[in-house]
């Protein structure tokens, strides 16, 4: 953990258990919801880590844990080598200049009673960097950077389209010149035609400002072209992490394979080996024993009862490629 090899962000065995809402004096203690259950990952400077998983797997919770919007149950978060897990609110304020977040819903993420200038400029006010005319000047520069006209500076959020609002959200996150931006499904609420515009904007900004992203999405297709590294999450745990190109060519975990098979292909004649996942995501309050994925895994029967009883450890499935699956241990790199 020192020198140039130090990652920008490293999280170790991070857990977040939510107290079940039914818990009370008369009902007794309900098992907690294990939204994030022991996740470790690291993000390098200027790189993009794509985090993928279906709804309810805990990926957004993980993003909010890293931004310290919610407190973890256990585990640690290191930002530039410094443990920020226990930092007080005032100590955290300094870290927040380098650690920002963009939200999914561009309609809920902007205060309807504030103008663009106030929304984006709030960052400068909070950190005492600029106010008045200087603040407006900075806001105007940010509007340029995200491709919005300076004429919009005194408008209210409802006067913008979804894509424009997301640009305002991006400008707000950029205001403090952060090193890492957590992008919590920033395009999934937008029209398909707008999605690529926003993705391209994020890529351009990454190049210009040397940003690192934690890019959260629910499908692999969305993160494919923006990520350097991809992690697949299932029911509160990471199941596979690998470089972006590797995961598409050699997916090791059956869940990843299923996600890849779900990506639509432009060629109507291509033969598709579509893997349909049966059933729903199990309850994160009572995750299945053994491998959490075994209830929906089409390969689980091949190893007898092992998948149902024994939790799989991380196994190397290739260069810089890890998967938590008993099959990978048996077959090695596929």
């Amino acid at each position: 953990m020192n020198g140039a090899a130090q990652p920008l962000l490293e999280i170790r065995d991070l857990r977040k258990y939510f107290r079940a809402s039914g818990s009370g004096f008369f009902t007794g203690e309900q098992p907690p919801i294990r939204a994030v259950d022991g996740v470790s990952l690291s993000i390098e400077r200027g790189q993009t880590f794509g985090l993928v998983g279906e709804s309810g797997c805990g990926k957004s919770t993980l993003g909010r844990l890293i931004a310290r919007l919610i407190e973890p149950t256990s585990g640690s978060i290191f930002f530039e080598g410094r443990d920020i897990t226990g930092l007080s609110r005032s100590d955290m304020r300094e870290v927040r200049r380098h650690l920002q977040i963009i939200f999914q819903d561009p309609y809920a993420s902007l205060n309807p009673r504030m103008t663009v200038s106030d929304i984006i400029g709030e960052a400068f006010e909070i950190h005492g960097l600029a106010r008045g005319a200087a603040k407006r000047q900075e806001v105007a520069k940010l509007l340029d950077a995200v491709g919005l006209s300076r004429a919009h500076i005194d408008k209210y959020p409802h006067e913008f389209s979804g894509g424009q609002r997301q640009r305002i959200g991006i400008a707000r996150a950029l205001a403090l010149k952060p090193k890492l931006i957590i992008c919590d499904e920033p395009v999934s609420a937008l029209d398909v035609s707008i999605q690529s515009q926003i993705l391209n904007l994020l890529k351009d900004l990454q190049r210009e400002f040397g940003l690192a992203y934690l890019f959260i999405a629910h499908g692999l297709a969305a993160v494919r072209h923006i990520s350097d590294r991809i992690g697949v999450m299932y029911l509160g745990k990471l199941v596979e992490t690998a470089p972006s190109s590797e995961i598409f060519t050699h997916p090791a975990h059956p869940y990843t394979q299923a996600l890849i098979s779900a990506i639509p292909r432009p060629d109507p004649d291509a033969v598709r080996d579509r893997i349909i996942l049966e059933g729903d995501l199990p309850s994160p309050a009572a995750p299945p024993p053994g491998c959490r994925f075994h209830t929906r895994c089409r390969e689980a029967s091949r190893l007898g009862t092992r998948c149902m009883t024994q939790e799989p450890a991380w196994h190397a499935a290739g260069a810089d490629h890890l998967a938590a699956c008993h099959l990978v241990e048996n077959t090695g790199a596929q």
């Binding site: 009673r113 504030m114 409802h158």
Partner: protein, 283 residues
Amino acid sequence: MGFLRKIVASRLAALGLILTVAVAFMAIFAPWLTPFDPAAQDVTQRLIPPFGRTPEGLHLLGTDALGRDVLSRLIIASRISLLVGVAAVIVSGFFGVMLGLIAGYDDQRAGRVIMAVADVQLAVPFLVLALAVAAVLGPSVFNLVVVLGVTNWVQYARVVRAEALTLREREFVQAALALGASTPRILARHLLPNVMSSVIVISSLQVARMILFEASLSFLGLGVPAQIPTWGSMIADGRNYVSSAWWVAAMPGIAIFLTVVGINLLGDRLRDLLDPKLRHMER
């Protein structure tokens, strides 16, 4: 000027504005508007009906049981009624909104205490509480405002807390937290502006309630000292004569009605105008 034009763009709001301004004008310039001395008694001219003539002149709204001119008393009484109504709304609104915001934002510790106090207070009938406080403090306009303010903050606190609870989870509040915003900043910049439209609507209804509460307390002799006429005490005085001289009680009743309707119409419009989304809509 532009804002005023937007208010009167709605006919109902224009009516509300006219009523409210008229009542306010009446209250401010009351001493110069009264046709007779509101305290002058003349038992020989008691209970003259509206438009009745006496040697002193025309009594537009008649006279009461002591021969005092109803219109003059109505005009003088508007001062206390409006003063008490508006001041009590400001006091209760200030405390209610503040406590409601805190309770909604920190619903674990501060919120539980605040809402527990609110529940206890709601369990005590208003009049009993008001009587107790008024009996201890004694009747005066200032004490009346304190009593009404202290006993009516719960209406604000409950609504504001409920809204703050949902606003707190909205992503723009999360974004402000991610920027490092302090709690006072979140409350003042992000929560307060978004609850104001509800607060204005509650306030316009509360002014009406306060005027009526003042009437009830004055009626019971625990509001304003008896020699100062208020709309409430005028109704109380007139209630014995309703069957023979309806105007003594009805005229202050109509005054309360018109004031309340005017404030409510204006409040509705203000709420719409304060919402940026509706600001450009004209009705």
